[in-house]
Amino acid sequence: MRLEPVANPSLARLLGFPAVALAVTVLIGSGLAMVAGADPFATLGLILRGAAGSQFAALETLNRATPLIFTGLAVAVAFRARLWNIGAEAQLYAGAVMVALLGTGALAWPAGLLLPAMAGAAMLAGALVLLGPAVLKVRFGVDEVVTTLLFNFVVLLFVSMLLEGPLKDPMGMGWPQSPRLVPEARLPRLVEGLRLHWGFALGLIAAVIVWVIQTRTTLGYEMRAVGLNRQAAEFAGIPVGRVILKTALLSGGLAALAGFSEVAGLKGNLTLDISPGFGYTGIIVAMLALLNPLGVVVTAIFVAGVFVGADSMSRAAGVPTYIANIMLATALLTMVLAIQLSRFRVKWG
């Protein structure tokens, strides 16, 4: 079997295969529902309704999408430059820690100053967390996949240490959690009376900014060149090492904003479970969006919808909520295959 590139793929080809991928994902979801003894149509209906069936559900989905926009952008930026940042989870927590450090009374600033300061500090912390593996990659050629993965565990243990030590809430009845943020440190709601905070809007703005960086700036050009062909980029005089480090800073900073938005926007304090794997899910979000920053917004909402919908379906129909993870992993694998098939023709022999 050989793959032969298709010079000018037709629209049918470009859309057909992804459509099949989506169909396969839904099919597998239905199959799992049947295995769990539920009616597949009802299950999918419940997921859909749970994700977007009411104003409450839709807002819940957007709330869940917010951190995924940030981690999705972080992954999209990094992967575009072929920096395999699998450590968005760690960078997210690094950002969250900075919010808890600065927002629980350490700085008695008005919200207009405090929020940007916290966001800036969070981005810095996240950027530094990824800078480590990036420097190891550039300087010693250490594969960043494994180092960023391992850093996830290190940072999470570090956060746990803080929450049982200096950051522990004295009024927390012994739970490992930080004190609550002061009111000035909370992200306000987007629309009064609706349960959706400014983090979501921030995510949209971030997506546009990343898109502009990638398509309009010199750095964006450099990042794409390094990602597509490092050797040619080096030959052409692009400072590859520096570009990778800049990419790492941007990517780590974006992931950290997820932590900022979760703590300052949604939760109000830092716990060890602010992220149920948003960093890893960011990979799915970014890949489904074909690493396009604007696409990330769409896929983040889709992925969040699947999670929120599955949660609500699980309560109603008793199908384990992990069906969402299976469907999303399936979507990821079938989609990368679909994209390959839309660009290459399979030839036998």
Binding site: V142, D143, V145, V146, L150, F153, L157, G165, N325, A329
Partner: protein
């Protein structure tokens, strides 16, 4: 100082070292086989979860222990088949597919577990592998209880290293695997199928990873719970690099890791350990793995075609 010496001289310490190393040996050998054939398998973490669950579930539902191991291996090979199909003939990114397999395998295991035991809070235990003292050898002081009073799966792990070495370096099959990871065109021009060799290596390798996971539920903790693999798969990837893609050195790495991990657990319980947050100790294995990667990165003999998809007739 005396405390530390006490730890190092106790048989229970060395027994723990071997116990900790065993699952890593299985999974590291699995990853090594994949990478030697030219495929980075980042599905390892999830495949270990799936193996841990499958083996445990088989025994929990009444099957024999060795059947459980076989079931785990089969589950691993299924995910290997998926990984191989996507990365070898279709040439998809090994990074993305591997992570996707990890997400998928983990989710499938958790889903199946919740399906089987909907409302269980304390994970039920199974009748797991029991220590099997080797006649005569187990009577030796220190060495006997440490090395020769282990479960059969542990003996199997160590034997596996010898088998993998033998196959890789002394058989036509191993030669083909090593060549596939170095220059697939060499394999094809000698009339062998790169696709078949790589697919086979990924499937067998994934099977071994799953047995490594099954070791946790069937020979160590005796029950299945969430997050139990806890980064062991990623550590195995670091061990392959540390071992410079050679089975013997990778084994050495796994044992060193076991020594270190067993030591930190015991150090936590000493007076010295009481002053330091336990998280610091838990962090050390991960930091150590990163350090090993940095140290080895300069001289490691990476298979030249690792992560490079091969398309027939292309050069």
């Amino acid at each position: 100082m005396a405390e530390i010496l006490d730890i190092l001289l106790s048989a229970s310490f060395w027994a723990a070292v071997i116990r900790i190393a065993s699952p890593l040996i299985f999974a590291t050998m699995g990853e090594l086989i994949c990478e030697r054939a030219g495929v980075l398998n980042l599905g390892i973490e999830g495949i270990m979860v799936a193996g841990a669950f499958a083996g445990w579930m088989a025994v929990y539902s009444g099957l024999g222990l060795w059947t459980g191991v076989a079931v785990a291996m089969g589950a691993g090979m299924l995910f290997g088949l998926l990984h191989g199909t996507l990365t070898v003939p279709f040439g998809l990114s090994q990074h993305v597919v591997g992570l996707g397999i990890t997400l998928l395998a983990t989710a499938v295991a958790y889903f199946a577990y919740r399906l089987a035991l909907p409302r269980v809070t304390t994970p039920p235990r199974i009748e797991a592998f029991q220590p099997l003292p080797v006649p005569y050898l187990s009577d030796l002081p220190i060495v006997g209880p440490a090395l020769f009073t282990q479960t059969p799966l542990t003996y199997l792990a160590f034997a596996l290293v010898g088998v993998v070495s033998l196959v890789l370096y002394r058989t036509p099959l191993g030669l083909a695997v090593r060549a596939a990871g170095e220059n697939p065109a060499a394999v094809e021009s000698q009339g062998l199928s790169v696709t078949a060799i790589r697919m086979g290596a990924v499937m067998v390798g994934s099977g071994l990873m799953a047995v490594g996971g099954a070791f946790l539920t069937m020979s160590a903790f005796n029950s299945f719970f969430f997050e139990m693999v806890n980064g062991r798969g990623w550590i195995c990837i670091a061990l392959v690099v540390f071992g410079a893609w050679m089975p013997g050195k990778a084994l050495l790495g796994a044992v060193l890791f076991g020594i270190f991990d067993a030591f930190q657990i015991r150090l936590q319980q000493t007076a010295l350990g009481a002053d330091i947050p336990y998280q610091v100790f838990l962090m050390l294995p991960f930091l150590l793995s990163i350090l090993a990667l940095v140290v080895m990165s300069r001289r490691a003999a990476v298979p030249a075609a690792l992560m490079t998809p091969y398309s027939k007739g292309e050069r």
